[in-house]
Every structure is written in C-alpha cells, then in structure tokens.
C-alpha cells in the first residue's frame, strides 16, 4: 500500500532548525512543513512591510532555507512553509536567491497568495460584509476599523496542492493554516478531493497535521512525561507515515532524544483544541474523539479510525488592531525578609503611581517565585513567606500612549536605589505595542487563493 512520510521542522518563529535537518537526513521524509506564524504575527510583519515593501516575511526563512535546502535537494524532500507572512512574494524572491547561490537551477518555488485581506477591507465594507467578533459578539469592526494593522484569512491547502501539482519543490504561503502545510501534501499524493467520499480521510489528515504541526510538542517537548525523555536538549521532531486509508504511524528518528508514545500524542490531541468533536480547519472538520491510538513499538504510535466532516463554509479571519502600549519592569529583593521587602516595594510603587498622576488602563503586580504563573489560585501571602531567600516584583501597565508606558515602567527601576536595601532590577525592557485580536469569519468564496511558480534560473 502506498505510504507518504511527512515531518515537522518548525512550530513557531524562532524555533530550532537542527531537528528538521535531522528529519530530512535520517527520517526518509518526502515533505517537511515549517510553521512560523502565531495568531498575531502578521501584525508585526505588516508593520515591517509598510516600512519596506521587500520585507514582511519571517526573517528566519533565510537561515532555515540555507540549512534545509541542501539536504532537501539531496534527499528529494519538499519543503512547505508559511514563512511568507505578510509578503510571500518577497520571501519567494529571497529563497530563490539562496537557491541560486547554491547552484540549484531548476528548483521550483510555489508561492501561495490570497490570504491578506487588509487591502480589501474597504471593498468588503462597501459590499456590506460584516465581521462579527467571535469572542465578544460585537457586530462589526467599526469601533477599531481605523486601528486595524492586519487582517488575514486562515486559508487551506487548495493552492498548496496546485503548487505541488505544478512540481514545486518549495511552497511558501502567508497565513495558510499550519495544518494545511500537512494536509496539502497528503491530498496531493493520494488524490483526495474536497468532496465525498474523502471527508473522513481529510479529517484524518487534519488530525495527523495537528499532531505534528507543533514540532516536538508531540515528541517529548512540553510533555508531562518530561522525566522520561532521554538526552534532554537533543530535541527530535515528529514525523507521520500515512497510508492511502489515512491510517498513520507517528514516530521520530531512531536513537536518543525525544519521546513518542500514546501519551505524547494524546497530549497534543488535547492541545489548543476547543470542541474536539469538531476541530475546524479550512480543509475539513476532524473528530479527535474518534481517534484510536496504539503503541505498536518504542517511539511508534499508530493512529486510526478518525472521522471527518465537510470543510466549513466560512474561513476564520484574525484581525489585529492597535490597542495601546505595555510598560514592564522587575525588581528583586534579597533576604533577610525578602518577601516583606517586596511588599514594602509594592506599596512604594502604588504610592508613586498616585504622585505621578499615572494614566493607565490596567496595572498588574506579580510576586516572582510566588504567584507570577499561578495567579489567584495560590495562597497569598504564601505560607513560606518568612523563609524566602529572595523574592521579585514584576510591574506591568497598559497605557494609551507610548510616552506614558515609558514613564511608568521606570517605577521598578527606581526601586533599585530607592527600595529596601540590596535590590537589583536587571536590564529595563523596552515599551511594546499592544495588538488587540479580532477573531472573525468570512464566507470562503470571498477569499479566492492562487499560486505562482518561480523557477530558479
């Protein structure tokens, strides 16, 4: 029976490159997917593109392609990435240039376009298309319209498949769903179509894509089984061998590093999912509650019996809008009496805010080592307060203006020399812009996608 082997080479912007190289060289994979985008990454990339029309893609695409293209060329592995961000065409140019420098004449780069809705918002407004906020129910974007900096539809695999059919060795997209980078090659290889009787198979492809798309997060990273992972630091990414019935074996390359078992796969099947019976992706709807997991060998898990439903009529759209600034700083206090010193410093900071007539929309003060992660769920003050050798205070404000955030974030740094004796505040953090998220939907037919092939000469 025909099988196809796909692997994951990146889960986010800034992820490691070596696990992807290892998969190409030792995993015998035919396709490697690279996810480089989070929900609001496009807001950053659109800003870069506005400053320089040749930018707006994920800069990591440069070192990644320099590292991955030579082994991929040697082993015949195709690479799919959404690193194009706000500017897939510019990313395509850069990758073509890298391939040219390697002497890879004839390499074909498929560039997928159509997800960027920012230039079309006025057109939609004129047509009466409304973008209801999926989380708050607010009817349309009028209140934030003049502050929107990015609007991208999560597009599916259609144009990725077209690019593969046209012989692309590398596919670069903008905001394709991470998942489509894995669904695309499977549908292309097995000839599955967006119609009956393929919805179960596409549902399985969506599920398999979900299992591997966050890189090592299903192969031993971010795992509750962290103690069982041998050779920590030698991270291994997951791969899936999928057959034409859409059954899959999830594994990693042999040898030390990483861990794959039904537990690590399960951890990912419940990760960042809402209704597991209806996991909505642009290419199909998967029922994760139908999946059967079996440990068939060390570091090999068989995934079968997945059900699917036809793809949704609407695509998800993430819009980002400017929503002020965050100023942040920290200061640490040594024992004796570290916790008591931190409490004294909190009073100092709150009094200072009054004296400065501070203008902020939200303030948060955390006690580092006490409640910075667990928030209101831990007892405060902690029962061990008197025994703390050191304790830190984290101070964060959200403001309407950059200037006010810059003014207020100095408070923790003042506590370096004006707080109780012995404190340290480290290097101050820069003020950062806040991007609000407006999740919404758009009818699929309003977002046609297309692909262009760029051949390295």
């Amino acid at each position: 029976m025909k099988t196809v082997k796909i692997g994951s080479g990146s889960a986010s912007w800034g992820d490691m490159m070596e696990p992807g190289i290892d998969l190409i060289e030792q995993g015998d994979i035919q396709y490697l997917g690279l996810d480089h985008l989070a929900e609001l990454t496009l807001s950053i990339l659109q800003r870069w593109k506005a400053k320089d029309p040749k930018k707006g893609y994920i800069p990591d695409v440069i070192p990644f392609m320099k590292g991955l293209l030579p082994p991929a060329r040697k082993h015949g592995t195709k690479i799919l990435c959404n690193s194009g961000g706000a500017n897939p065409e510019a990313a395509g140019e850069v990758v073509a240039q890298i391939a040219k420098e390697f002497g890879m004449e004839g390499l074909k780069i498929g560039i997928v376009l159509g997800d960027d809705l920012l230039p079309r918002l006025k057109e939609f407004k004129d047509q009466g298309v409304k973008f209801e906020n999926m989380e708050t129910g607010e009817e349309d974007i009028d209140r934030v319209a003049d502050r929107i900096v990015a609007a991208n539809a999560y597009i599916g695999a259609e144009s990725i498949i077209e690019a593969l059919e046209a012989g692309a060795d590398v596919v670069i997209t903008g905001r394709a769903s991470d998942n489509a980078l894995y669904v695309g090659p499977l549908m292309h290889e097995f000839g599955w179509k967006f119609e009956e009787p393929y919805w179960d198979k596409i549902g399985a492809a969506v599920t398999i894509g979900h299992i591997i798309e966050c890189g090592a997060c299903s192969s031993g990273s971010m795992s509750s089984q962290w103690r069982k992972v041998d050779d920590p630091g030698n991270v291994r990414n997951p791969m899936a061998e999928v057959d034409e019935n859409a059954a899959a074996i999830i594994s990693k390359i042999d040898g030390p590093g990483g861990l794959v078992n039904s537990g690590t796969v399960k951890e990912h099947l419940v990760y960042e999912v809402h209704d597991p019976y209806n996991y909505l992706m642009p290419d199909g709807i998967a029922d994760f509650a139908s999946a059967k997991l079996e440990d068939i060998a060390p570091n090999k898990v068989r995934v079968t019996e997945i059900k699917g439903k036809p793809r949704p009529e609407k695509l998800k759209v993430c819009m980002g809008y400017r929503e002020g600034f965050i100023g942040e700083g920290q200061v640490w206090f040594p024992g004796p009496d570290a916790f008591e010193k931190a409490q004294w410093a909190e009073k100092w900071a709150r009094r200072r805010l009054e004296i400065m007539n501070a203008q902020y929309d939200e303030l948060r003060i955390d006690y580092m080592g006490v409640n910075i992660l667990h928030g209101n769920t831990v007892p405060f003050p902690p029962p061990y307060a008197k025994d703390m050798y050191e304790c830190g205070l984290r101070f964060v404000v959200r403001t309407k203006t950059y200037e006010e955030a810059d003014r207020l974030k100095r408070i923790p740094t003042w506590l370096w020399t004006h707080g109780p004796v012995g404190s340290a505040c480290g290097q101050p953090l820069p003020v950062r812009p806040v991007i609000g998220l407006w999740p919404t939907l758009i009818p699929r037919e309003l977002v046609p996608t297309r692909m262009v092939i760029k051949e390295v000469k």
Binding site: E135, S224, E267, E272, E328, T377, V434
Partner: protein, 101 residues
C-alpha cells in the same frame, strides 16, 4: 489532588485558554468526569477566568477538554500576565483537590 490522577496541558486561542486533562486510567477518567464541573473550574481560577467554562468528554483518550472563555486578559498580545499563552493554567489546575468518594 488532580495531579495524582491526571496529566494536564493547556494553551490559548484568542482570549480562550483550554486545558486538556488526561486521566491516568479509565477509572480516574470516570471519577474526573463527575468531579470536574464548569462550576468547580470557575471556583478554582476565581477572577482569573472571567467567562464561561465548557467541558468536552473524550472517552477515547480518557481525557477531558476544558475550555475557559475570558481567561487570558484579552489574549496573548494584550494580557499583562507573564504566562501570555496560558500554558501554566493546566499545571495550576493540577493542584485542585478532588474527593474520591
């Protein structure tokens, strides 16, 4: 405590945090199905979770998917919390007391 009965992993989408609770055994799953209710979850997180909590059952994985709305201060890029993507929230839930009656 929940940590003696299950693993947990959490993550974000927008202002929503979800926690996958994976019971160590089918028996634990049966117990947790009864004990982990939206009300109990809301009570555990207090003002850190402002919206509704919905729980989905996944018998195939002996797991529960807990979806908490309004749990991330407006979302990863807006929240003032250090845990911008809610990944610590699942671990926080592991401290929840569960009576095995």
């Amino acid at each position: 405590m929940l940590k003696d009965l299950a693993y947990a992993r959490s993550g974000d989408k927008g202002d929503i945090v979800n926690i996958g609770v994976m019971a160590f055994s089918p028996e634990n799953y049966q117990l947790l199905k009864k004990k982990l209710t939206p009300e109990k979850i809301k009570e555990h997180f207090g003002s850190d979770v402002k919206g509704d909590v919905v729980i989905y059952k996944m018998p195939n994985l002996n797991s529960l998917e807990i979806v908490m709305n309004g749990a991330l201060g407006g979302g990863a890029t807006r929240t003032l919390a250090l845990d911008q993507t809610g990944k610590a929230k699942g671990q926080s839930l592991l401290y929840m007391e569960i009576d095995a009656d």
